[in-house]
Amino acid sequence: MNTSGINGVIQKATALYETSQVCMNDFKSWVQLDSSHLSDGQRLAVKYFIVAVILFFAQILFGLLAATQFIFPGFLYEILDFSVNRMIHINAMIVWMLYGFIGCVYWFLEDESGTEIVGLKLGNIAFWVLTGAVTLVVLVYLLVQIGPGKDSSLWFINEGREYIEAPRWADIGIVIVMLIFFYNVVATFIKGKWSGIAGVLTLDLVALAGLYVAGMFYMTNITHEQYWWWWVIHLWVEATWEVLVGVIMAWSLMKLLGVRRKIIQTWLYIEVALMFGSGILGLGHHYFWIGTPEYWLTIGGFFSALEPIPLVAMVVHAVYDTGANAFKNSNHPALAWIIAQAFGNFFGAGVWGFMHTLPQINMFTHGTQWSASHGHLAFFGAYATINIAFFYLAIQHWRGDVWMGSDSQNTWRWKWALGLLNGGVLGMTIALLIAGYEQSFIERAVEGSTWGGYFTAQNHPSFQSAMVWRLFFGGVTFAGFVLLVWDLLTIGKGETRLAPEIIEMR
């Protein structure tokens, strides 16, 4: 290479950098967000929210690619295979939701503790380290994809375990970043004031981080390996994440609707008791068929069948509080998404989960599109919704607590985003449910789950049209997402009425 070549590259790079700076500035003057409205903790929180939204986009994009491959198997074959697209789809989901949760906690930490964050600098460093690591992991997923059957592949490329594919080095990094986050939360509460919400949050974060460690080991014995793998996946989404959402919800309802702290905290304790009381041993519904002893059929079936109870209680709670306050609140989109959470959690986790949780049924639905149907509605209904609600709370404050009610401008945008996202995911869920029933019947019950049976079910017209409908509703979901981002960037722009004043007037 000669010097003029290098100079050319440098020139191009600087030109690119300058254009991106100009674009960035144009963008900033267009969104008109004033960060002086935010506290330090909230500034850190919105960084997490921004990455969360970007990863949400990645999730939907790679979901669409994977869904296309069900219909056109040759699409991106040996370039971006189904396994790669699917891995990024579900990994991006887990990571964006965790980013969202961390953002939520940083958002209310100073308010709830009544003091400033203890380790703000450390928190910022942790954010950049985590984001750098996530970027690197995704690049390796895309460019390297797979490795030889050696330990080094598991350390540096991917661990090949659904949902927690991140290579070992990243696992260790994630644990360190979580510890910093945990330190910030606990130390801030200790410096400020302690509360029931703080107590539940602290214990829940210990469990959440500790469980991750259970998924960091390689084992030859696949029964043992899947045993611990489910500790992470199940005890996250059906225990610790639910409680974390309970905490976030508790704080939001207090702020949004002015519900009394004593009532909120009593509810929170009841939810913790019901959730952990059913969810911890409900873990057994994943131990029916992996080689573990038969007593899990009874224990897993029984306790997991109780899991919908706290979810019913949460619906009652949200609807009651909203009604009791006569829907009086200054952030309609946030409240709408909170209601969507209560129902989405109940239907996706409670109803869809219950339908296949008894071993007599699970024997036939296990490992079919039935599981995917439930997975989509549950993750979206329980965890995407609450994060989106919080994005709206954050953007309102970022705009200086302006009014976001029924007579605001362009409310059609958030309403359509709400409708398209929920309608899209529900449509995919129903399509997958039909495919799941067909598979349970033809592949599992009639054909006895052989490879021939599997493909007989995959080739069946009702399965194939279900895959087309899933892709269609995936497109609807994507449209909803685009509208959501547009709305988040523009809502409240030009609004001059302040929320508290409006509330007082009514």
């Binding site: 040996e78 891995m87 059957g149 573990t292 490879w451």
Partner: protein, 198 residues
Amino acid sequence: MNEIPLWASETFWKKTAIWVTAGSFLVLVVLTMDSLSKTSAGSKRVPAYSVINKKIDYQYNKELHKFMPVISENELLFGKEYTEQEALQLVDLGKKTTQAKNCMNCHTLLGNGAYYAPDLTKAWLDKGWVSKEVREDMMMRFLMDPEKNARTFGSNRKMPNLNITEQEAKGIIAFLKWMSSIDTNGFPYNFKTINAEE
């Protein structure tokens, strides 16, 4: 009048939450220790890795009312009798390869994973390998060049080439054979193996 009943008091529910959580977790820990010991390699439910030297089948057990693995006489893999240590090494290579190649994001193993390709729980016993005489050879060729040896059953869905070496392919086959011997409480139901008469 203003007394708060017990069931509505914050401290009561706080204590309940703590006790219920601690109690459930304790039970889980005890059950975990029991389950892990009952499923270690070499237990009744999860056979030792040297089971790859044996004939494995999967049949309906009338007394237990469920399908059970049936392990019988010697049926060597790749014409070789493996010691326990050698078997462990081979199965370990296979297991590690399935993770490094990300098999689980297309297939299910023990029913867990993705739904783009068939379940691998009893793949060793599948009729798709035509007969016991050609099975090993077919599996080797398929794993090392799935594109040319594609078996799509009319679906056009082909497994991609994952650069699996000969040794890795042997490992995977040993791993699949071992996995098919695990007692999975009767899942999958009604599976007819390659050994069954038509």
